[in-house]
Amino acid sequence: MAASAAVRSAVSLTQRFVRVSPDCSICPLYRLNACTGAIDGFTAPNRRLRTSIGVCQSADSSSPEEDERVVNVVFIDRSGQRIPVEARVGDNALHLAHKHGIELEGACEASLACSTCHVYVSSKHYEKLPEPEER
């Protein structure tokens, strides 16, 4: 995919709002298996549990149209661990992170009201974006 198209797709990840999952999936306690109260039961987040909710994540799409819509995203968590995930054009970046058990706070639940979740775009890519709108 051309770099500018990739950037546009990346931008649309943050701008499109997609209702993906029930409320409890945004709770770090639930996602990290903490709400069961099982003190001895801590495990690393099991990403396989999340793929069935919401957006379809077929990894074996073969048609060119399907490939055009796929965006490969790598999340790097606080410890430096790299978590590669597959997303689609139009996906919401916050929900994508939560779907894969990545701890990312979104106080207003992706309403664009609070700034707890936000994106830094490298200046090289920022130059390619259209002017922000005051709305």
Binding site: L32, F42, E105, A107, E109, L112, S115, T116
Partner: protein
Amino acid sequence: LWGSHICRVRGLSSSSGPRVCIVGGGPAGFYTAQQLLKNTAVDIYERLPVPFGLVRFGVAPDHPEVKNVINTFTQTGQHERCSFHGNVNVGKDVTIDELRQAYHAVVLSYGAEGNRSMGIPGEGLPGVFSAKDFVGWYNGLPSNKELHPDLSFETAVILGQGNVALDVARILLAPVEMLKETDITQNALEALAGSKVRRVLIVGRRGPLQIACTIKELREMVNLPNTRADMLPADFEGIAEALKDLPRPRKRLTELMMKAVKEGGDDKAEKCWGFRFFRSPVEVLAGADGKRATGIRLALNKLEGSGESARAEVTGQLEDVDCGLIISSIGYKSIPIDPAVPFDPRRAIVPNEMGRVQDTAGLYCSGWVKRGPTGVIATTMNDSFDTARVLIQDMEAGKLDLSVNKPGAQAITALLQTRGVRAVLFSQWEKINAAEEKRGKSLGKAREKLLDVDEMLKIAWS
């Protein structure tokens, strides 16, 4: 990372595991609890029967999305290892020392319930309010329910230009249609529906480049229906030239302001609002009978230096503005909770090093009482996570003696009982919550808040 911590920490204590309590059930308290719950049991003590602090009483009624964070806090409140105790006044019903005896660690997250005063003559006259009280009034804070602000005057002057000042201006000028389905209190809604306020001036000591509000709130003022912007072009001399060197957030904010100056808005608009820069309040003026505020005397300043650190210096010039409603929005202020806790009266915070209270092992702080009363939800969230991390580090480093068994809430509840104090549990708050939503529904609103503590308790314990 954190996965193995709980096992290690548990091994150190005898049987019941580590116990931590948090004083204050607002955003700082809940965010700190959220992180601590991974490693320890957490009890939250809150003075009111209802949780959530400024998310409930501070965030403007027309910003309901910001309040979505309540869903996250509710998960925390319902967590098996978390226990909320509302209606408990720490410092009066129970002391900090008693909490420190019952828990391995205590976190102070009680925020800033006082306000900075202007320190000028006439500040106590009828017609003058702190923004904290005005916001508390329209948001249903029980202690502000009898505020009865007189809204029969044409001009209101707000001192301060932060987001709280803009919230107040917006609520004063917003069409009632915009507010009537929100969770604004019914008495405030009715008062605003009958309000004669048509002009709101928002006054700041320094210039446009030092304004403290953020762009979202400015945008909302610019887009207010049936209002126009009334600014003084003289206040903006030299600003256009300075734009290119500004960091992007400041640049965008300033550009939006310049646009508002230039375009002004619909001349036919019934209402207007405007910033007034380089002005400090020096006296509240009373009418001939001296009984209430009828105006405010402002001193004109000039700016020394530039950017965020620019200072306002007096010029000696004065200006009087006629107005019947004066709202001082110059900052909240923390107050000391207990003589056993160190307090810095100059900065009005609990002195601390990265959240560890000075000279007091086992005592921590997070939120506004730790850093001072500025910042949005994101700031408080990050700060609370920092304190939680530090506390957990101390647990693992052996700085807190977890080998001693601590009784936690069991001991505190028993103590409170001997003093005739009964707590409101999280599930009991949920009864209050349901009652408010039900009352709201019949009025076509998101909720109708209960204004009376006794009423809240009656429903909680029914």
